[in-house]
Amino acid sequence: MLTISGIQEGFVLDHIQAGMSLQIYHDLKLDELDCTVAIIKNVKSNKMGRKDILKVECPIEALDLDILGFIDHNITVNVIKDNSIVEKKILHLPKQVKNVIKCKNPRCISSVEQELDQIFILSDSEKEVYRCKYCEEKYANPRRR
């Protein structure tokens, strides 16, 4: 059994879909933070069969919950202080995401306009559908469960 020690202050992202932790590591730009990160893959889970976990030792403000909610709002965010869980954050689908994904429609103005923000807007929260703000092209999230 692999043992990874607890963290003093930071957060634990639990219930990450197995195999997605590295992707999330990059999406959250954790590689740009000067902190300790543990990427734990393929952990046995009663709920999910297999899951990934990320442990990050850094202030919670450094985490963009909107991006995380967009990536997978089923992830559990545990906020840690003094080695214990002080808060469980509930993720929501953000109303819009800016500069996280790109519109794939070659006819969209965002494919040619200089320095235009790539903005996607939540158009159907039930079906978790995001559409490009400019051309309304649907974004199919490959990471959605």
Binding site: R107, C108, I109, S111, E113, L116, Y134, C135, E136
Partner: protein, 306 residues
């Protein structure tokens, strides 16, 4: 300051007011002949569309205003690589209102974010063409008396036809509207419109393959063109193409007061012999297009005529 990007930007009440204004313009054109004196409309057309551009220009000239602009990307600074955001900032210094046609979807929206003058989407790729929808709504309301309580047949290319999609979105806001969708299998209305719009909102509709089968029940027939290249094989095209050509013989199956609409240009999907039928309303529709654009310019410029 308001812009017009999609036909649904206006609420039903706002739309009613706009169409009322358009009808008043139709009735008393002289009252509005100088309403926009001293005002300038910029027509920024990054791709050619003669009818839409001339309709906008006629609308502004009828209001006593002036027009300036360009009619293709080649003759604009876009050819030098200027962004839409920069172009509209400059145009904002020259004109009071702008109508923009652009091949890239969402370009008028990008312009509206940086503009200090109202921007009208005059067509952005296959995305939206709101003034065509306003034209269709004004035509139906003027000639039928209301936008509800109608059975409308949409015929032809229902898969790629943005005018048809916009019209469906606009008409479902009115009571008791029934759709008859007339198209070959390959060109059916996309499933997201059938499922997420019509079925989700319990709007009655039927789908048929032959125009003749639908004719007797229609109050309005909205024709669009079926292009040969949209078919998967030549055989299907040959088998089906005549179903979507409106002829005098097919008009005999229709109600005496049915209206035929078409966004134009027509190629061969409506036989010329139908033009003299009093139910052929497509050229009147083009006239209504000018009235509704006049009403739109006045509304967006917040000019009130007593």
């Amino acid at each position: 300051m308001r812009h017009l990007m999609s036909p649904l930007d206006f609420s039903v009440e706002e739309l009613d007011a706009l169409l009322d204004l358009a009808n008043d313009i139709e009735k008393y054109p002289e009252k509005y002949a100088h309403a926009c004196a001293g005002k300038k409309l910029a027509t920024c057309f990054y791709e050619p569309s003669t009818r839409t551009r001339l309709s906008f220009e006629a609308a502004m000239l009828n209001l006593g205003g002036s027009v300036l602009g360009f009619s293709s990307a080649d003759s604009s600074s876009a050819a030098k690589g200027e962004s839409v955001s920069d172009t509209i900032r400059v145009i904002s210094c020259y004109a009071d209102i702008c109508a923009m046609r652009h091949p890239k979807e969402g370009a008028p929206l990008v312009a509206s974010q940086k503009s200090t003058i109202p921007v009208i989407n005059a067509g952005d790729g296959g995305h939206q063409h709101p003034t065509q929808t306003l034209t269709d709504l004004l035509t139906i309301r003027s000639l039928k008396g209301e936008l509800g309580n109608i059975t409308i047949g949409l015929c032809g290319d229902l898969k790629f036809g943005r005018t048809v999609h916009s019209l469906i979105h606009a008409l479902i806001r009115y009571p008791n509207v029934r759709f008859v969708l007339i198209s070959p299998e390959e060109l059916r209305v996309p499933s997201y419109i059938r499922e997420d719009v019509l079925e989700a909102k319990h709007i009655p509709y039927t789908e048929v393959e032959r125009l003749e089968d639908a004719m007797p029940e229609l109050d309005i027939l909205y024709m669009t063109r079926v292009q040969k290249e949209r078919f998967f094989n030549e055989e299907d095209y040959i088998r089906l193409k005549d179903y979507y050509v409106l002829t005098k013989a097919k008009m005999e199956l229709a109600k005496k007061d049915m209206l035929v609409l078409h966004p134009l240009p027509r190629v061969n999907e409506i036989s010329v012999e139908v033009d003299d039928d009093p139910r052929a309303a497509y050229f009147r529709q083009a006239q209504y297009g000018v009235y509704v654009r006049m009403a739109l310019i006045l509304t967006l410029l917040e000019i009130k005529v007593e």
